[in-house]
């Protein structure tokens, strides 16, 4: 007598067992339907209030008094000066931090030297300093009451409550962005391709332009757009060093504050909408880079990267 083994089961019986097995497996590795729907609804409500509604509010408030008021607000001379200063600041601070970020990542990822992990921690420092304190340290250094203040005043150099102070404070708060993005990326990629190029006779700059740069381009771009968004949008640090002189030392975020405190809500939101467009472009580019670079690297915002 042969026992009826699984192979002898009828086709219908096999199918029935398979279905029950799937159902049981499904219940054990999936949440009940009401939990799933409940979680999705709760999360979408939370993110809706905190992420979607603010975007709607900015544009509705900006156009509340009509399109003419909107364009008058952003074209007014003080607004135009603020836009220009914001662009100028980013145009200096971002390239400076790109050069630094690439140099730091090159030194840290290609060489071994004592104090390396200390250096990485120090590069991170500006992320953990309050924006207000970031501005304050430059006031303490270069302000009239500061260490170098009297000497600077003697030579008629004004850094604080002037454009150079704004640029310096912006450089400080955006300091780690590019480096933080590139260091883990270049460490993960290793040295092999560069060593091969070296063996084939390439010089240092040739290696960088022809081998390293094409490998890190997405990570670099990622760091640059986030660095730029922060540079153009920085408020706390810049507010401390700016002195709020209209038409001279006001960036867009500071101009937003002034208009808002004057109860010119439509004007404040009109200026804010410019920054919001910048933010949306930044996020769109970021998603595009995520998508483009998915195959070879995992990028994450510099705030959450780990070295």
């Amino acid at each position: 007598m042969v026992e009826p083994g699984p192979l002898r089961l009828s086709f219908m019986e096999q199918l029935k067992r398979k279905i029950t097995a799937n159902q049981r497996g499904g219940a054990a590795v999936n949440e009940p339907r009401f939990v799933r729907v409940g979680l999705i609804v709760a999360v979408l409500f939370f993110l809706g209030v905190f992420l979607v509604l603010p975007l709607v509010v900015v544009f509705v408030e900006a156009f509340k008094k009509g399109i003419e008021v909107y364009f008058a607000s952003v074209r007014e001379p003080n607004a135009a000066a603020a836009i220009w200063l914001t662009l100028l600041t980013a145009l200096i601070a971002v390239p400076a931090n790109i050069v630094f970020g690439v140099a730091a990542a090159w030194a840290i990822s290609k060489f071994e030297f004592p104090g390396k992990s200390l250096l990485v921690t120090l590069i991170d420092l500006p992320f953990s300093v309050s924006p207000v304190v970031s501005g304050l340290i430059y006031v303490l250094l270069f302000g009239l009451q500061g260490w170098l203040g009297p000497w600077l005043a003697e030579h008629d150099i004004k850094l604080i409550f002037a454009v150079p102070g704004i640029v310096l404070a912006t450089m400080f708060v955006t300091f780690p962005f590019v480096a933080r993005e590139l260091i883990p990326l270049m460490q993960a990629q290793g040295n092999e391709e560069e060593v091969a190029a070296r063996v084939l006779g390439a010089g240092g700059w040739q290696i960088f332009w022809r081998v390293t740069l094409p490998n890190i381009k997405w990570g670099l771009l990622y760091g640059v757009i986030l660095c730029n968004a922060r540079a153009m949008g920085e408020f706390g640090a810049v507010s401390v060093v700016s002195g709020h002189i209209r038409g001279l030392t006001n960036t867009i975020p500071l101009h937003v504050e002034i208009l808002y405190n004057e109860y010119n809500s439509a004007g404040a939101f009109a200026m804010a909408s410019l920054l919001t467009v910048l933010t949306l472009v930044t996020l769109a580019l970021k998603s595009l880079i995520d998508w483009k670079s998915k195959k070879n690297t995992m990028l994450s915002p510099p705030w959450t990267t780990q070295v």
Partner: protein, 266 residues
């Protein structure tokens, strides 16, 4: 490999000029003060009230973000629903949106006559210009941290371990509680610490919605600005040193957490 001297030299010089020298100058400044003077500012009643608010509101906001962030990361990694990609891309909004814009927008939403405030006020909930307003602003700016630290860990969890737990007789809650949650714990703590650290120093988004009443809705960074506008540089410096010390302790904690995180998954 060439370029060691050039790149390391540039890195160290630039780091010193932009970060290290200005920061140490602030620390050295405090030596110009007497200890009593320093202590009177740092431990004065107004300063203590501001620490309580800054730390308390940051703690509540980071806790809210930890719970909601865990749920959001779970939903974004495990479930399918229309618009998921868009939602995922929007999560980084608080990182990229300038804080001043966040500040005036949240105020417009939560003020008594605002978009949400006009519905909350009849219920007796006053959000803008109260401590609740501070918590709301800090929740907004800390929102992405937990989501972005938990997401990759959740993606890496092998579904087979859940299946194994189920085969061994665990129900869904048990395998979540005993198998998945312990895996997420270091990432959750890291996200919490990052959100908390960011919230403690935050200025731009809070000043608009808080109403800035001394002793009640005045955060520490605002108190520093107030001292500066009164030309009380010594007072501002003392408070800045108090804040810097807090940030450095937090930075240390975060580094330890990330080290723990890596040690688990290495």
């Amino acid at each position: 490999m060439p370029g060691f001297g050039l790149t390391l030299g540039f890195t160290v010089v630039y780091l010193s000029l932009i970060v290290l020298i200005p920061l140490s100058a602030a620390f050295l400044r405090t030596f110009a003060m007497s200890w009593d003077q320093f202590w009177a500012t740092v431990a004065g009643p107004r300063a203590l009230a501001s620490y309580r608010l800054s730390l308390g509101a940051s703690l509540v906001a980071a806790a809210v973000n930890t719970v909601m962030g865990l749920m959001a990361a779970w939903v974004l990694v495990r479930y399918k629903f229309p618009g998921k990609k868009l939602v995922d891309a929007l999560v980084d909004l608080p990182f990229a949106l300038p804080t001043a814009v966040a500040g005036i927008t949240l105020t417009a939403m939560f003020a008594g006559n605002g978009w949400l405030g006009s519905y909350l006020e009849p219920l007796g909930i006053k959000a803008a210009f109260t401590q609740l307003g501070v918590v709301i602003a800090l929740t907004f700016i800390g929102l992405p941290f937990v989501i972005r630290t938990v997401e990759p860990v959740l993606q890496d969890i092998d579904p087979e371990i859940e299946e194994a737990a189920a085969t061994l007789g665990a129900n869904r809650w048990q395998s979540w509680r005993r198998v998945i949650f312990p895996e997420l714990m270091p990432a959750l703590l890291t996200g919490f610490a990052l959100a908390f650290a960011r919230a403690v120093g935050e200025y731009g988004s809070v000043v608009f919605i808080s109403g800035n009443m001394p002793m009640r809705t005045e955060i520490t960074p605002l108190l520093i600005v107030t001292k500066l506008t009164q030309f009380d540089y010594a007072g501002a410096t003392a408070l800045a040193i108090a804040m810097l010390s807090m940030s450095f302790v937090l930075l240390l904690v975060i580094n330890l957490l990330q080290w723990w995180n890596r040690a688990r998954y290495a």
